[in-house]
Subunit: 136 residues, 2 copies
DNA sequence: CTTGATGCAAAGAGTTTGCACATAG
DNA sequence: CTATGTGCAAACTCTTTGCATCAAG
C-alpha cells in the first residue's frame, strides 16, 4: 500500500500541484483500508475545508484515478474509490458490507472455470461480500 | 426461461393489468437472451408506441423486477435488466460485451475460496466478460 | 509571473414522483 | 364503473463543465 508521502510524490512527479486539499485526500486514502464513496470523501474533507465544493472532490478523485493512485469500482449503491492495489499478483477481494474494508483473495476463479471454446474472455469480476471481524 | 405467455400470466395473477405495452415488454424480454438497458428497452418500445414516456418504461421495469420476472444488475455502464434466471441451481454468467447475451457457468468459485474464519460471508459476485461466437 | 486548482453556478445524464386523463377488468 | 396504467412535467441525485478568481511553483 502507498503512504501519504508516496501518493503526494507521485502527484508531484506528474506535474500536479500539491494543494492542501490534495495532501488531505492523499492522507485519507492512505489511511483507509477500504472503499469510499464520493459523498463519504466530501463529508470527510468538508470538516477541514468549509466551503468545499463537490466538483473539486470529483475532479481530484478523477485525477488520482487517472494517475493510477486510486481505483474505482461500481457497486449497487454507486461508485466507490480506494487506493489502487499494488499487489504483485492478480487477486480479488473480500469486502466488508459495513466498513468497506477489503481483504485480498489469492484464489482466482478463472483458473477453474471452463469457458466454451467459441467465447473469447476479456475480463472477469469476482467479489465476496460480508462482515469483517470488527463489524460482526 | 419464461415465455411471453408465462410472464403475462404471472403479471395477471398478481392483479396487474395487462396493457399492450406490458405484453410487448413481456415479449421483448422473453425473446432477449441477455441484458437490456432501460434506454435500449425504451428505444425498442418507442418503435411501436410513439409518444411513449421513459417513466412508464422505468415503472414497468420496476414492477416486473418486484414481481421476480426480471433481475437487475449494475454494470460499469449502468443498470441493466434481463429475465430472472429460473435455473434450479445457483450459477454465474459469461456475458458478451457486445450483444449482452449470457451463458451459464455452473462452477461457483465460493467452493474453492478460502475465507478467514472471522469473516462472515453474505453474498458474492462472479461474472466473466468477453465476446461470444457471433460477436467475435 | 504563469499555469493549474478551486468555488460557484449551471448544465447534463439517469431515474423517480405527483397529477390528471385514459383504459383494463 | 372503479382502480390501475400512462403521459407530461417537474423534481431529484449524481456527476461534469465553463468561467472568473486564487495560489503553487
Amino acid at each position: 500500500m502507498l503512504t501519504t508521502e508516496e501518493i503526494v510524490e507521485r502527484m508531484s512527479a506528474q506535474g500536479l500541484r500539491i494543494t492542501d486539499q490534495r495532501k488531505t485526500l492523499a492522507k485519507l486514502f492512505a489511511d483507509t483500508p477500504g472503499y469510499l464513496s464520493p459523498k463519504a470523501v466530501y463529508e470527510y474533507m468538508e470538516k477541514t475545508y468549509s466551503g468545499l465544493s463537490f466538483d473539486t472532490v470529483y475532479r481530484n478523485l478523477r485525477v488520482m484515478e487517472e494517475l493510477g493512485v486510486l481505483e474505482q469500482v461500481v457497486f449497487e449503491e454507486g461508485v466507490k474509490f480506494k487506493l489502487h492495489c499494488r499487489e504483485n499478483h492478480h487477486h480479488h477481494h473480500l469486502i466488508c458490507l459495513n466498513c468497506g474494508k477489503t481483504y485480498p483473495i489469492t484464489f482466482c476463479p478463472m483458473e477453474k472455470t471452463e469457458v466454451p471454446e467459441n467465447f473469447n474472455v476479456v475480463k472477469h469480476k469476482f467479489e465476496v461480500f460480508g462482515y469483517c471481524e470488527a463489524c460482526g
